[in-house]
Symmetry: C2
Subunit: 520 residues, 2 copies
Amino acid sequence: MTREMHPQRWGDARRAGPLPATTQALVDHAFGSRPAPTVEEVVLPAPGLPEDLLVALREVVGTAHVHTDDATRRLRTRGKSTPDLLRARSGDLSDAPDAVVRPGSHEEVVAVLAWAQRHHVVVVPFGGGTSVTGGLVATREGYAGLVSLDLLRLDRLLEVDTTSMTATLQAGVRGPDAEAALAAHGLTLGHFPQSFEHASIGGFAATRSSGQNSAGFGRFDQMVVGLRAATPVGEIVAGSAPANAAGPDLRQLLLGSEGTLGVITEVTVRVREAPAEQVHEAWRFDSFAAGQAAMRHLAQHQLLPTILRLSDETESALNLASQSDVGGDPAGGCLMVVGHEGAAVARRRAEVAEALTALGGTPLGEERGRHWYAGRFAAPYLRDSMLDAGVLVETLETATFWSGAERLRAEVTAALEAALGEGTLVLCHVSHVYETGCSLYFTVAARQGEDPLGRWLAAKAAASDAIVAAGATITHHHAVGTDHRPWLAREIGPVGVSILRAVKAAVDPDGILNPGVLVP
Amino acid sequence: MTREMHPQRWGDARRAGPLPATTQALVDHAFGSRPAPTVEEVVLPAPGLPEDLLVALREVVGTAHVHTDDATRRLRTRGKSTPDLLRARSGDLSDAPDAVVRPGSHEEVVAVLAWAQRHHVVVVPFGGGTSVTGGLVATREGYAGLVSLDLLRLDRLLEVDTTSMTATLQAGVRGPDAEAALAAHGLTLGHFPQSFEHASIGGFAATRSSGQNSAGFGRFDQMVVGLRAATPVGEIVAGSAPANAAGPDLRQLLLGSEGTLGVITEVTVRVREAPAEQVHEAWRFDSFAAGQAAMRHLAQHQLLPTILRLSDETESALNLASQSDVGGDPAGGCLMVVGHEGAAVARRRAEVAEALTALGGTPLGEERGRHWYAGRFAAPYLRDSMLDAGVLVETLETATFWSGAERLRAEVTAALEAALGEGTLVLCHVSHVYETGCSLYFTVAARQGEDPLGRWLAAKAAASDAIVAAGATITHHHAVGTDHRPWLAREIGPVGVSILRAVKAAVDPDGILNPGVLVP
């Protein structure tokens, strides 16, 4: 499988088939075909870096690793949010980098940063390119140019410590390659976000990614025990122990820093034995509230399975399962997916089943669980098919404490419906749970209308306002990028903003690292 | 029980009885009585704040809450490290604050900081006063004076959310008071460090404390879901969700900030149902290495009990149990304490027992476990008795990844023995474990000699050098204070130092908050 993604679509475009029948029926009456231009029809701006800068850059990494051709630059333009795709589909690739540079080592990353600082060139670190929040769309005004720092060649598993159960991976290793390299040692990382097939280890760290196995394995930031990063003022190596009391944890500053405070080049992660067994099953609950109460019970009684997801009534009813992670009609209720992986699966499964039954759940068997598992990385392909069919479709997510989840969901849903008008469909699921709260993940489908990008940006702003007003977080696992930046400022307040700016100024005094991203 | 501690000793001095027979035998041949002067014999420096500043301060919090008398200032002088105690016992209270100020609300803390900034007065936040790393010994050169900001009056449980299972406590609530307030709701925090009887919620957060139940409940920093802090440039409120991807986690900057970046006034913590059952038992392993391998197995197979501790051969052999948390002779091997609290204790106990037996452990029954439990907060009293008997005694701790634990222990032990000379006793135990590593806690006993303080500082420096040289952390749960500051700089490197300084400058531009502590 290719890890490279189509410049206007998700992943391997051949995997985006026609819409499933239910979805087709949903969109037929109101929407229309919106085919995108072919890739070659879209013209990129000419690369703008002066030749002498390119000569100097080639000296740093070698001529073979500096690319200014359209094909390579196209593949390193923006990420995969619906706004990113809409811009690309409308023929706008104005954010294309002037060059794509591929250093082959930590030392070459350091040298590229020195070059960029010397010439005041913007550096946009690029891992898998799966950002859905504008994390790859930096400001270039006032700079001599912009390069995409592609970590593709930092693709090695550097060290495995089977006593400590840690592994050190270079930042550019993609999800499946990391798992394959670890599998050779009988190990797994256990991090499976929807972007898994393309995204990179460095990207997981830089965005505080959270995977489908988070109930059992934790968030990616919980898996990280060490980080190495290059900054314009020197190297940071963080992680002298699993945990410590040696002041503020600097790992936690690099995690979620989205390429603005340094380029993460190596990540040391906790690993586990590859699962001996795994089982995925489905459950039905009468309502989203009943299902959430059951999730909450499991989380608060140390009964969490490896995977735990719950779709609301609408998402459960829509048979989108052939290309997505949602379910198929559970007779009017809500669908929960429960997965157990690792050791003692039978015992843990029985315990969880007993609790879920006591809380009103009905087992639906393994087939739906397997179905979810088989299609768990495919939802973004459905988005491409829907965009082709004239549907405006996008997702957004947040998290809050349990006692606020119901109100938060209602207010975000209302904001989206009000902004997008009649016929808008807002689905919600919970895919990450904690003892004290959970994430809420919304999928929105609406008419594209005359100005789909403008319609979405207005709706997203309304939803983000509702999220911040409710005291929830602007992002549970998609990161801040450029899209969430104004709301981040409201979430962390002026002192929080001044802290981020101070750290930024300390490690990147000339502001060459992903300017415009994250830091308000 | 009083939460106030004796100015030269730990806690309630009446609880420090005579030495147990084994220990007495150990010290009789080499050491001699070193009684401390009575409290009243030690003269404090006169309070140095000009009267007009005191008048202004009284206007902020009320006359009743500004104290300049010797008795109050004495109780707010330094912490409880052996160097702190040795200085106090030698009649040196030169670090006494000029005044002790007790604000009654977050707003009054803000007002005190404004007063301090206006007059360039050092503010040393004071919770329980249990620091063992010089966290209460700030620099005063170049300032108009130094006040102890005593959080005693911020003593309320503000909110309990039994849906989210969170509680918001003011920073000055002491450990037992927090547990009592939560017990009224059927809840527990589950944080029981050795300082529990005196230390405060704000102090736990500011130092990244770790408790005896950490295997089951996690470190204190893992329990914190929200923080409110006052800084000279404004308020920080952090914690919009259990976890998020909204950039670097600002909670993680305040956790471990030791009063240098702000005064934590409120902490929202995860709580759990009060344990329905609890059992504490002891196990014997042939060697420290075998016991550690068993701990590692439990941690890496999600089998951790609530409490898990392992003493090395020497610590196991010494019958210090009457006043400490160590064991009593397990016939030449190593003593492990295993505690199960909460629900399903019988099932979890059986699982852990099966694993420990398979790994070479021999059950020693519940009596020793109960004995440990009964004396678990008493070890510091033993230190006072030993200091009285002419023994130089202190503890230090670190953490590392499993594969480095053996070498780290050997090198720290060798450094301490070399520095302190013949007859020195170095004990070690593991009391906090993770999937990827563990803490190592050393107890050192040696002759006091002519210059006990100088002897200890040299030994501690040698041990700290060995820790940093091994790539381990300078502190797993005692924090940095002033004592670890030089080694913190080596642990986090120059870029890490510049980040801490930048954050400090952003939130405390005049450097009034605990100067000289933490930030290199």
